[in-house]
Symmetry: C2
Subunit: 124 residues, 2 copies
DNA sequence: CCCTTCGTACTAAAAAATTAGTATGGAGAC
DNA sequence: GTCTCCATACTAATTTTTTAGTACGAAGGG
């Protein structure tokens, strides 16, 4: 039974980002990181992290006092899935129209493109 | 009170796509287009379209028999907002990491990038 | 006229996402 | 020991999203 490949929700992603940034962390760690940016209850964070564990994004193991959670999936992979999902929903799966939008929206310059091209050459 | 600039949900976008494709259309028109791809109730489509009207994505005016809905916002603009939103949520607002993902995920080739570059030159 | 078809308004229920409260227990402070 | 802090499990309220049902009116066919 291969778990359906869902994508994390907005809030879930926010927490995953913290865990990816911090490395293995307790609920409190994540709570405090989030707290700096917005009001949220400790238990809310815990709930979210448990959901993330159920969904297979986090794993927990007993630590000194509290459980320590760590990312079960690498950041790149998750983000890649989100990009795929977005591409499918919004652009019927093709990346070029997205690229065009990025360029037209001034989010990318010709220089950016050339940079990436150069990276591609080096990478292969 | 300037309406909060939300982004259409998945289902909402699906309907908007149909309307953008068909041009002014009745609920039935949209219903039938959607129906070809998946099971859905007529009233569901109507509900969605009325929500879209409330949200300012569609406008309706009385037609021969039924209301005729037409897009209140151009496709490009809406999609652009969705891209912006996605960029903000997933990539903290920067487009380059997204581009890198697209390339690494083989969604874009070096040729694609060169094509777009050429288009940029011509366009300006 | 009566029936069927198409349409609208109103209502609502199911599902998912978001946020948080309550009860309870361990462990150190004093 | 008792109090306080931190943690967890369990439960739940709220909001948003998604899907659809019900009641009822207008219009044409026969």
């Amino acid at each position: 039974m291969k778990t359906k490949n869902t994508t994390p929700t907005t809030q879930e992603l926010e927490i995953m980002k913290v865990v990816w940034a911090l490395g293995p962390a307790t609920v409190r760690d994540v709570y405090e990181a989030l707290r700096r940016r917005r009001k949220v209850a400790y238990t809310t964070v815990m709930t979210m992290m448990n959901i993330l564990e159920q969904k297979g994004y986090l794993k927990k193991k007993p630590g000194e006092r509290a459980y320590v959670y760590h990312a079960a999936k690498p950041r790149k992979q998750v983000i890649r899935n989100m990009v795929e999902d977005f591409l499918g929903r919004v652009f019927d799966g093709s990346a070029r129209p997205l690229l065009v939008h990025l360029v037209e929206g001034r989010r990318l310059s010709a220089d950016d493109l050339r940079d990436i091209e150069r990276m591609m050459e080096e990478g292969e």
